[in-house]
Assembly symmetry: C3
Homo-oligomer: 276 residues x 3
């Protein structure tokens, strides 16, 4: 491929306008998420408690912005001030939950539709991570941890509001904590935030910004599609296991067990490598 | 009644000073609410855990202001900066919980006292809803949803902090979510917020502002009194059922069931109409 | 002791630099707290969920600042902007949880080390309470309750974030509410906040500021050491019981019981005196 044409595409991806098509794709997937989270009782719940259903869906749609605002002392409700976006989100919710014969739901579940929406959502996610890192860097130019946190929350906010989202629907699942078993989205958002920070704040990355951005978009979309189509859910796990073995006790624990005087009982090291 | 005299009364109601009498009425009802929420163990709890009792009561008294502040990135503790109001609230709490022979509690439970307090609280509630809508409109002149949310939260904050209020007392009831079964207060505050917005932002309502305000005060007081005296708890339910049937699946679900290919099982439509 | 030399020491204590030694002592005790809160499964948990472990530890370390920021509409993440402090905190966490053969943990559990760290932490706590009161007084010069709340939260933040800290680790213990059974730290922070306010805002205390500050430092350190070494856990309890008996029902309830017409059942008064 011609490098200049490639850079050209990258530049266009950076400048993509998100409203309304990418917003619609994002909303469709959020509505599907809420509906699937409700399980078998989804239809009945949406008829009995439309307000709770709508509020928890809105929380999922605007999760990233709201959580990031809360942590940066900006108005939590500010993401709701954009009335056209609100109307689009509400229409999507209505279509997925209440159309006659469940046409809306069935169409949005249809694989090709879902693939297109997922790919668009990943492009949107990348923009959100970048916006989050930029915003945090403006507020705290030297606080790298805050940039990573805000970038990650903007990119995968819904993962962190799951407890509240379910609480709005009257369900409390304290063990479903994102931090305990971070999903691939969280981990890839952390990686993307770090790359954006390296690109912005240091000289390590010499490629032009548009290429870095486009690379992360491709990375996000590629792994999302391979997750839907091939069932590969977390390509970061091997690196995690390596890191856990090197830095978080794996090797030392094994050594201690061999020498017969460490606390870990049998089977611990195996468990340690299984999950993060 | 003479229309001019009526307008005169309306104007006076708009300008009513709230401190201290309306504050006292509000505090008395909040203290009764906390005490009744504690159930049979109220006396014992108030003796064993005065701090938790006082804090959860304070949260109920200042719920609206605190929640609205939290959502608008204003200091959550700001409602506590008014020291005279704090002292009044604390005195009322002391009188309801700790007077000898429980005189304070018995007096405030006495029906005529309760009726007067309730009527005053509804007047106060109307002022809070109006203040909330005005405040939000100043911050976000075009964000109608934010105005409705802030108006409703200011008007019926205690309904939304119930989970936290109980958590302070060591009780966790995740299913007691206001959004699941919105109370009449929540629904009437939503309606009042919408009317205030229509009055403020559009030309639909040609009546003078004082009349609109007074009308909502009368609506609040009337339904509160009919709830206490006649046991009519929710006059909005019929409209809700109609809306649910029209927009949230009722009719389409029935049609689908008749045609024999919708998902809803038998009995769903009936349930759907029962509650919001 | 020479009064001038004493005042000199007091002045030096007031000006003590906290970073990095006092920060390290604080972090060591926080890490021990998290590790002990995890109980027998601590090693295994830290291997399986390093992210949740680190986040809940960070919350404990920065609890006071974060909660106070949240309540005053300042950025919750602001305490994380100090990168050197973050690195020190992370190193301490790593040493306590992951050093080979658990050397870090064993050293920090060693009594003399723990005593030194505890004493340093109490000096730090006093500074935090003072900073909290000063900060709140600058924002709200007449809101004494807000000053007390912020001073107490800054001094014993970890006590109030325990629920969230455990929730990050996937454990939900709604009954472990600080307000229900305030610990000695909370109570002594309240007392210290009140003394600082009296010193700052009124003429009741004629001693120089440095002496007042030093007196509170001695009070904190003395009771901490007597708690570790002598097992005296709460020297404030007798005053509390007296206050409960006088103001919160004790005497009146007994009187009512003697007269045979109060609600409290037998055994209530006894319970009332046992705990706050």
């Amino acid at each position: 491929m011609d490098p200049e044409a490639f850079l050209d595409i990258a530049n266009q991806v950076v400048k993509l306008k998100m409203f309304p098509y990418f917003d619609i794709a994002h909303c469709v997937l959020c509505a599907l998420h809420v509906r699937e989270d409700l399980g078998a009782g989804a239809t009945q719940f949406s008829r009995k408690h439309p307000l709770a259903c709508w509020l928890s869906y809105m929380l999922v749609v605007f999760a990233g912005g709201m959580v990031a605002s809360a942590l940066l002392a900006e108005p939590i409700l500010a993401p709701l001030k954009n009335t056209p976006q609100l109307i689009v989100a509400t229409l999507v919710w209505y279509v997925v939950f209440y159309t006659p014969f469940d046409i809306g739901y069935k169409v949005s579940k249809f694989l090709p539709v879902k693939i297109v929406c997922s790919a668009m959502k990943e492009i949107y996610r990348c923009k959100k991570v970048y916006d989050g890192v930029t915003h945090a860097a403006k507020l705290y130019p030297n606080a790298y941890l805050i940039m990573i946190i805000i970038g990650t929350l903007k990119g995968n906010g819904a993962g962190f509001t799951r407890l509240i989202e379910r609480l709005i629907r009257g369900v409390w699942t304290p063990t479903a904590m994102e931090f305990m078993q971070p999903s691939f989205y969280t981990k890839s958002c952390i990686v993307a935030s770090i790359i954006f920070i390296l690109d912005k704040k240091t000289e390590f990355i010499s490629a032009p910004h548009a290429l870095v951005y486009f690379g992360i978009v491709i990375f996000f979309v590629y792994f999302k599609l391979s997750s839907i189509l091939l069932g590969i859910h977390d390509p970061i796990v091997p690196f995690e296991n390596l890191m856990c073995a090197l830095f978080f006790g794996g090797i030392w624990d094994s050594l201690a067990r061999i020498l017969g005087k460490g606390q870990p009982k049998e089977g611990d090291a195996k468990d340690a490598k299984k999950t993060n």
